[in-house]
């Protein structure tokens, strides 16, 4: 164990996966750029060469398709998109092909590809450089979706994603890259489809994903002083979803806030709310609250940006609304 940043954890997972499995290769735009994808690909070319760590032209669809084809041929590619916004150009490859292939051919050809959709927002980047549309992918049958919120999960989920026999969309968040914690030095997996209980509480459950997990923990800390006991759960995998850990908690608290940094309409948070209503309607003490982006494109100017992205204060407010 040693203290590692989220970015270092991702970098280390890449390195160890490349080392342990000849089938693994990394392909995407910016591997060899001076920034090395926020340092997550730092040193990989030196260690493994340009044959297995491949920088590419800005051909999102073509490069994603190539990774999908290589996966069909038995490789374990990690293909990444420096921003999820750019990944829309590869939607046909991801949905029509990657996600549906195993089903469409009756389970004969699987596609063990890991697609890194990197979330990069803030600093007045505006709407085409700020999105995290998890729900669009979680909507599609045949692709798993994971959202690590901590350095430990960033490493363990990437290892599990690459070892999984199915397509996995791995959404890492640049706002978390500097976050540090103890992470094992060796290779380990965080199983896909298993949520994490981040902190225990009795009055309200907060299901949070991506950067809002930390914000939810902050909200829990703050509300402790007012005598409100908050339980925070990070599902980590949006699909397949560990609904049991959520239901168990809500069964205990009777209240739910879902903190999901994505647009509200047909969102992951609505899905969680629906699952909880279906199972626990009669024991809920208050309506489920969702903390999301406003249903607007994302603005550039700092004051607008601040108003746009939710943080712990929005979660605190949502909690107080249903606890009072």
């Amino acid at each position: 164990m040693s203290i590692k940043s989220y970015a270092k954890a991702i970098n280390e997972a890449h390195e160890q996966l490349l080392r342990e499995d000849k089938r693994v290769f990394v392909i995407g735009q910016g591997v060899e750029s001076p920034w090395c994808v926020g340092t997550t690909t730092l040193g990989l070319v030196d260690k493994f060469g340009t044959e297995r760590v491949i920088d590419t032209p800005i051909s999102e669809a073509g490069v994603t398709g190539a990774a999908i084809g290589a996966a069909m041929a038995g490789m374990r590619p990690i293909v990444f998109h420096p921003r999820m916004d750019f990944m829309y150009l590869a939607m046909d490859q991801i949905i029509n092909h990657c996600a549906h292939w195993y089903y469409m051919f009756g389970g004969q050809v699987n596609v063990p590809v890991t697609i890194r959709g990197i979330i990069n927002r803030g600093n007045e980047q505006a709407t085409q450089h700020s999105q995290s549309p998890f729900a669009m992918y979680a909507h599609v049958p045949g692709i798993k979706v994971v959202c690590p919120s901590s350095p430990y999960d960033a490493k363990g989920l990437l290892v599990a994603a690459v070892r999984d026999d199915n397509p996995v969309l791995y959404c890492d968040d640049r706002w978390l890259y500097m976050l540090e914690e103890e992470v094992p030095d060796g290779v380990f997996e965080v199983p896909l489809g298993k949520g994490r209980l981040c902190c225990k509480g009795d009055d309200v459950t907060v299901v949070a994903i991506s950067y809002l997990v930390r914000e939810a923990e902050k909200a829990a800390e703050e509300l402790k002083r007012s005598g409100i006991s908050v339980e925070v759960i990070d599902p980590r995998t949006l699909k397949p979803l560990d609904i049991d850990i959520i239901l168990k908690s809500v069964y205990k608290t009777g209240r739910l806030v879902v903190a999901d940094p994505d647009w509200p309409c047909c969102s992951f948070s609505e899905h969680v709310a629906n699952m909880v209503y279906k199972e626990l309607f009669s024991i809920l003490k208050a309506p489920v609250q969702c903390v999301n982006f406003p249903d607007t494109p994302i603005p550039a100017s700092t004051p607008l940006e601040k108003a746009f992205f939710p943080d712990y204060k929005d979660i605190v407010k949502a909690i107080i609304d249903i606890v009072k």
Binding site: S59, I68, G69, A73
Partner: protein, 339 residues
């Protein structure tokens, strides 16, 4: 189609033995009979899945696939019955798939447009017309990283270079010198639209060359020429001299989808269709083999009769096969376990 010249070549014999020449004829005849039978079954409403027939183009898939090894990869499109048969896919399993049966090559999940036979390198055909281009580049990339010598052939229509991903895939293949053959089956139509209404120039091979391919235009109705070009292309790919682009000029007799000819819809004229039917790749080639004394007319007829039996047997197999069980509807969304 006045602006599009059609290479009208003679048959010639170059390093190919008699048995190989007969196999080429037999494969084309199998595809033709398969498709003609399907056309009848669609007309009789026995088949529901949309069938995009390949009639008239048989020389392309036959010539190309005969130059490939069993473990080389093939990718196709919505019009892939011919690709599947030529590459060695099981005929009964294809027929059962088209009937929507559990014994189908895609277990009844794919229908006519989505055929699969991984044991002969067909990893699945996509009905998104340019959808396979980059994926095919991916199998080529994988084998290039592994250094196995396995190559990839991807068949696409003349409409596909009008999609952006064709260019992305071509550039990647050219950039990395990948072992891949792009086989453009230029049948002069993309759905209802003729090529002169869709392209500013008759320049598809030039575009491929601009992306780093060695390119060639071939008479797609001459199975020997297609085979020679594909054999040469496969050799080059195996020797690190890929990628290769082959534009095979040909014609689909039937309409975009289904058994009709699209003449009734005013999409093309009867004279054009008649001219291409007169250039039938099978009729001409069998005549050539007979003239050369390689086959007799009787032998050709007995081959045809054996193929008809085989197709009928496949139809019976398909009809008598069970449908997929609706209880299995949700199976195979995800693969269980780890590889």
């Amino acid at each position: 189609m006045g602006t599009y010249s059609i290479p009208d070549s003679e048959f010639s014999i170059h390093s190919i033995d008699v048995n190989e020449m007969i196999i080429l004829l037999r494969t084309m005849m199998r595809i033709r009979q398969f498709e003609e039978t399907i056309a009848d079954l669609v007309t009789d409403h026995k088949i529901i899945t949309p069938c995009h027939l390949y009639t008239g183009q048989e020389a392309v898939s036959t010539g190309v696939c005969y130059a490939l090894n069993k473990d080389d990869y093939l990718f196709g499109n919505h019009r892939s019955h011919g690709h599947y048969i030529a590459k060695g896919g099981d005929l009964k399993a294809a027929m059962a798939e088209i009937f929507g049966k559990a014994t189908g090559c895609a277990r009844g999940r794919g229908g006519s447009m989505h055929l699969c036979s991984p044991e002969v390198g067909i990893m699945g055909t996509s009905s998104i017309v340019a959808g396979s281009m980059a994926i095919a580049v991916g199998t080529a990339l994988a084998e290039s990283i592994r250094g196995t010598g396995r190559i990839t052939a991807v068949f696409h229509g003349d409409g596909v270079p009008e999609e952006g991903i064709w260019h992305e895939a071509a550039n990647l293949a050219g950039l990395k010198h990948l072992p891949i053959i792009f086989v453009c089956e230029n049948n002069l139509y993309c759905t209802h639209m003729s090529i002169d209404k869709r392209r500013a120039y008759d320049n598809i091979p030039e575009m491929a060359s601009a992306h780093g391919f060695s390119s060639k235009i071939i008479d797609g109705n001459n199975v020997l020429d297609v085979f020679y070009a594909a054999r040469d292309a496969a050799d080059k790919c195996r020797n690190g001299k890929g990628p290769i682009f082959l534009e095979c000029r040909t014609y689909r007799w039937r309409g975009h989808v289904g058994p009709n000819y699209d003449v009734d819809l005013g999409l093309r004229n009867q004279d054009e269709l008649n001219a291409w039917i007169a250039r039938c790749p099978i009729k001409h080639y069998s005549k050539f083999l007979i003239t050369q004394g390689i086959l007799s007319e009787t032998k050709v007829n007995s081959m045809l009769s054996a193929i008809t039996d085989e197709i009928n047997e496949a139809v019976n197999y398909a009809i008598n096969s069970p449908y997929p069980n609706p209880e299995e509807l949700k199976n195979c969304v995800f693969k269980e376990g780890k590889g």
